[in-house]
Structure formats: structure tokens, C-alpha cells
Symmetry: C2
DNA sequence: ATGCCTGCAAAGCTTTTGCAGATGC
DNA sequence: GCATCTGCAAAAGCTTTGCAGGCAT
């Protein structure tokens, strides 16, 4: 029942919002771009505009329901806020994204911030590498540099 | 003598490239956007197009002469590659960017990657916080969320 | 002289915004 | 019924690209 989350966020319960929340919840663990979500909506024969997707995602972010990430590639991706903080590691071959949490890293970040005289508010850590999974095609999917992204990386 | 760096990178020594390298070298420690550089070129009465700035920066990045960073805000910033790796901490009030290196964090990143079965190729760590410097105006300069950036943050 | 470079302008991509109509409460 | 929300289309912002002329070697 996602409707309650919406209500709690002070947002009216509308079709676009519920559907988008559904899609995000159904892709738990994956990280979807606005376009990804828009495409899924179209597949579900929902008549929802891309602009609305962006608007809704922005509202969700403001409400703390989702997090926005900027992995390399110029496109933002969104994931449902699972309550507990984590960082990301991205496979540069297949685009797979895994999440992790390392207390040691977190602590040392605070140390560094203190050392430099900063009050740390948040942070952004992304590791880029090559996963050695057998089903990982060794062709670039996430790549640094000028926009360069494969559309169908995670069907 | 930056010309040698250019030659070594297989790039012809041209006015735009040298000037841009000069500007980057003259702003050591600062992080300039393409527009920042373009503006400085105009101030120096150099007749160089913004497109060229982008092209040159992209070439420099490919050649390993500069690094491109995406701090929050939708605009990329560039800094001269100083040879040794470091991460960044950004003040959300005044936009100041400081650099740091923490071996502990680096090590633990490798640990995490190994634990998850990744060969780590690179990473991206940015801490966001509030520097408590006396001359730090407590007004937002770098802010998360929808594009929202003050133009004149670092004359 | 030749081939890499540049400036200009136009296009491209993601994201945002304005407005009139639609919908939730 | 009223305020909020949505769809469409157009705009905005950053970045890239095409092309004809210019410059380094």
C-alpha cells in the first residue's frame, strides 16, 4: 500500500504517483532513469507524460521517498529510499549496480571532515570497476567520458 | 612550459590549448567549469569559442592532462591532473572545494570491491558539508537537487 | 602543402516550465 | 468546489557536432 507513503508526504494520491512508486518498488535494487520509468509506464499502457515523471520524481526526492544518483553518463537514476544509507559500485562492463555499506569508510569520512573543519552533511561514493560475473558481457556499458550509454542494459 | 605536455599528448601546440592550460595551471586547486574558463579567456581578450573550450578539455581529459568532475549542479568542472589521486569535499555554503586523500578509505574501498567480486578501476568520492571558515557566507552556493547554482562563486 | 584545429552556429540530450484542462479530496 | 496535479509542447542549460576556413609542422 504505497498510498500511505504519498499521504504522509503530503502528496495527493494520483495515478501517476502510484504507478511510478509501483515501478520503483518493483525494481527494488535496480536504478532507473526517468526515461526507464517512462518506458515502463508506456509498456503498462499508462498515459503519463515524461514531464510528469520528472516532476513526480523530484517531488519524491524532496519528500525523501527516493534518492537521485548521478552515475557517470549524464543521466540521473532513481531508487526507492530504503531507509538505510549505502554507497554504490558500478560495473563498467555490464552496468550492474550493487550497493554496499562500510562502517570503516563512513567513520573515516567523518574523520577527514573533522580534520578539514567541515560539518559533513552527506556524501557520494561510487566505485567503478569490473564485476567478474560469468554472465557479464565484457563490453562497455557505463563508460567515463562524453555521453556514451547503452540503452538496454538491464532488461 | 606547457607546450611539452601538449606535444607528449600528441596534440598540436595551439593558442587555445596553451591558454586553457595556462588558466588551469593558474587556478591550481580550484575547479573550473568550461564557462569559467571561457570567461577568463574573454577577459584575457582571447578570441576562443566556447565549443573549442569544450573540445580542448575533452581532449585533455582523454590525454590524462585534466580530470573532469561532476559535483552536484549539472555542470562539469575541470582541474589539472596533479599526478596523485585525491578526493573532494565541497562546502555547501560557499562552494569552496578542498582536496584530501585518506589511505584508510582507499584501502577499505579495495576491500569492499574484493568482497563483492569487482576489479576496481576508479572511484568517485565527494563529501558535502559546511566549512566553518569565518569568511564563509552561510548562503547556498552548491546545493543538491534541481539545477540551482550561483554564477559568481569564485572570481 | 597537408592535415590537424578552430570559430560559428546549429543540433542534441536531459530536465524544467507554462498553461489549460482534469482529478483528488 | 477548489486546489492540486497532469499532459503537451515549448524552453532552458550544458555539451557536442558539422562545416568552411586557419594554423602548426
Amino acid at each position: 500500500m504505497q498510498s500511505n507513503d504519498l499521504r504522509k508526504a503530503g502528496l495527493k494520491v494520483t495515478t501517476p504517483r502510484v504507478k511510478i512508486l509501483d515501478i520503483l518498488a518493483g525494481s527494488e535494487g535496480r536504478h532507473l532513469s526517468a526515461e526507464d520509468i517512462y518506458r515502463q509506464l508506456l509498456e503498462h499502457a499508462e498515459d503519463i507524460g515524461l514531464a510528469t515523471v520528472y516532476r513526480v520524481l523530484t517531488q519524491f526526492e524532496a519528500a525523501g521517498l527516493v534518492e537521485r544518483h548521478h552515475f557517470e553518463g549524464g543521466t540521473a537514476v532513481f531508487e526507492l529510499n530504503q531507509g538505510e544509507h549505502h554507497d554504490h559500485i558500478v560495473c563498467m562492463d555490464c552496468g550492474r549496480v550493487e550497493e554496499f555499506m562500510d562502517c570503516g569508510i563512513e567513520e573515516r569520512q567523518l574523520d577527514v571532515a573533522k580534520r578539514l573543519g567541515f560539518d559533513i552533511a552527506e556524501h557520494n561514493l561510487i566505485l567503478y570497476g569490473h564485476c567478474k560475473k560469468p554472465n557479464c558481457p565484457n563490453r562497455p556499458a557505463v563508460k567515463r567520458g562524453p555521453r556514451d550509454q547503452e540503452p538496454g542494459a538491464g532488461t
